[in-house]
Symmetry: C2
Subunit: 380 residues, 2 copies
């Protein structure tokens, strides 16, 4: 049972599995990398119990089989092999050779290794009865724009995930820690209605895998307690350098409490500004802010906002040009929350104030759909 793989193809795809497969685990089998030979592909797979990942490299093979190899030495070796090609020969052991280097790695029996279920690209199929197709780029934005707002606290565990809401109206992602909220709306109608919550750490893995996919579409599928991803990949991995990726992540139980009521609807003041300049100024002024509440005061006036902060070290201030619609207003925020709310934005941003102590909204300059964030002012 043999296969020959270009070294760069192997290293690039192995790097994705290296993120998922743990160095140590209460289940020692999770520290192994799965390798399967099918008639037309080398399949690499792994899991940490929360996230399962499979990479399929279409290549000419000899023989069929399914093997487990200790992941850590395999990862280390693959990175530094001397040849352009890697030959894998499976028997009682795995013989790996590349250039002048050769090794025999012990293989473990795959008894007890969990069966991993991934969605099919052909359409909904058991155990994934619900399925939708999305542009990779849009799903990536929906996840990465809101991720920062998820909670790190044990308290109200559901907030440690990102909620994905599928409906006729489109796809929405939401994250909150109870103090602020981030949303991303994609207006593309979805073929089913469902709310699921993905653990924030698994969202990080999804983002990492999606980033490696480039453009194209991704199938997103739901099964009982599990969310699956599948990319189309390419025919002939050796020629294109792209394998087919499939992923499954365990979902959290429950869903977010109703958050619509905290999103303000009316805004006596609207301020538009260049987000880079505003963010830089906010970051500088916040250095002087109180180290407990990171308070920065914003005084909105005709054509400018004056940022100021005062703490144990002294005080600082800076002004930034803004375009105001509405009446001048003084308001204060926790600088860290405001900086994080602005973090996914570039170019023009808009801050919509519902009042000096009621929630404010952060949005990109143009879009009505897409990203928005709710930040609550500090009491003055």
């Amino acid at each position: 049972m043999k296969v020959k793989v270009p070294k760069t193809l192997l290293t690039e795809h192995v790097a994705l599995l290296e993120r998922v497969i743990p160095t140590r685990s209460s289940n020692p089998l999770f520290t192994y990398l799965g390798l399967a030979l099918t008639p037309d592909a080398l399949v690499l797979f792994g899991t940490n119990g929360e996230v399962d990942l499979e990479v399929r490299l279409e290549l000419p093979t000899e023989g069929e089989g399914r093997f487990l190899v200790p992941a850590q030495p395999f990862f280390q070796l693959v990175k530094s092999l001397p040849g352009d090609q890697v030959e894998l020969d499976f028997g009682a052991e795995l013989s790996l050779s590349s250039g002048s280097f050769s090794t025999r790695l012990s293989l473990a029996p795959d008894e007890g290794y969990p069966e991993l279920f991934f969605p099919s690209l052909e359409g909904p199929a058991e155990p994934y009865p619900l399925q939708t197709l999305l542009p990779v780029e849009e799903l990536l934005k929906a996840l990465s724009h809101v991720r920062y707002a998820a909670s790190n606290e044990e308290y109200r565990a559901i907030f440690r995930g990102v909620q994905l809401e599928f409906s006729e109206g489109g796809l929405r992602s939401v994250a909150s820690d109870g103090y602020r909220l981030a949303l991303y709306r994609l207006a593309k109608p979805q073929p089913f209605a469902k709310k699921v919550v993905v653990p924030a750490r698994s969202v990080d893995e999804m983002v990492r895998v999606l980033k490696g996919m480039g453009e194209g579409e991704v199938a997103l599928a739901l099964g009982p307690g599990v969310l699956g991803l599948a990319t189309s990949g390419s025919q002939g991995a050796a020629a294109t350098g792209k394998g087919q990726l499939r992923m499954a992540v365990r979902l959290m139980e429950g869903e977010f409490p109703d958050y619509e009521r905290v999103i303000p609807k009316e805004f006596p003041l609207k301020a538009a500004f260049d987000v880079e300049a505003f963010r830089e100024a906010l970051r500088r002024v916040s250095v002087l802010s109180d180290r407990q509440n990171h308070r920065v005061d914003l005084l909105f006036e005709e054509g400018r906002v004056l940022l100021s902060a005062e703490g144990d070290y002294g005080k600082g201030q800076e002004e930034v040009p803004v375009r105001l619609e509405g009446l001048p207003l003084a308001v204060a925020y926790n600088a860290r929350y405001l900086l994080e709310a602005l973090s996914p934005l570039s170019g023009q941003a808009v801050l919509l104030l519902s009042g000096p102590t009621s929630p404010s909204l952060v949005r990109p300059g143009e879009a009505a759909e897409g990203y928005q964030a709710v930040v609550v002012p500090l009491r003055v």
Copy 2:
């Protein structure tokens, strides 16, 4: 009391002090950055009790004084100032302004702040009666080539430092952890004879500061329990972008036990090889080595060395071309020690074997002086 500083000049030199000044300390004054105005310079200084550092920027100034400012907010602010120039105005507080940003930082009285003594560039002067001039590059090599061999163990604390030996014969640096030894010899005669031991962590700071100095010479001076450094810097810091740096590091008490006897003198086998190729192969093969002793076996034969290792994961082997002088020999090393001994080298390297169980020497391909390392084989 005022000074105007180009932003890049300030940020580059402040970065050196940021490494030294601690975020927290049992002596809270150490968390402050010192700023002094002299008639022709802005002087920045700081200490962590082990390492003192002073940066002198020759600039037009108004007034004279010595101030302490909280270092952390100062460091954070300086990095992100919006203007090209920074104006510092010292009064009851420090007013700092740059572009549209301005701040007032509280100043602390400098009572109780330790007086820092640095060598003079003019020549030996109290409290530094001994002084020598060295090329920056050579001192940098002497320190950085041997640093890795210093011990991290509490046991035999003297080995947690690097010994510098000044004599008529030249300058020598030595580090050891009792299991291996690294040496660097510089044949330039020194104007005094003395052995001192610098804590390895302070060596790291010296290396960092020396790296920023580029070419030229550095004065190295000894006082009671202290080693000092001074660079010539440049006239007119604003034009040249270079300040004058001075540094003082506390020395350790005592000196190394006699190590000459462990350096082998006769070698039945000499192997020369390309160090990159050898190192890569050694690194790959060592992935398979026993995780306790990292043993890699080396079989030297005519024209090649066969590296092999075997551990829980399996076994691996690779051969590398070598030029042998002497009889074929089998020997085994801890791969980590051998890799570290080779780490300062590039191009051609030589391994000199005194026998299969007695100490070996690692050297660069050509030089008789310069770097050498002693590595002891594992018992076969």
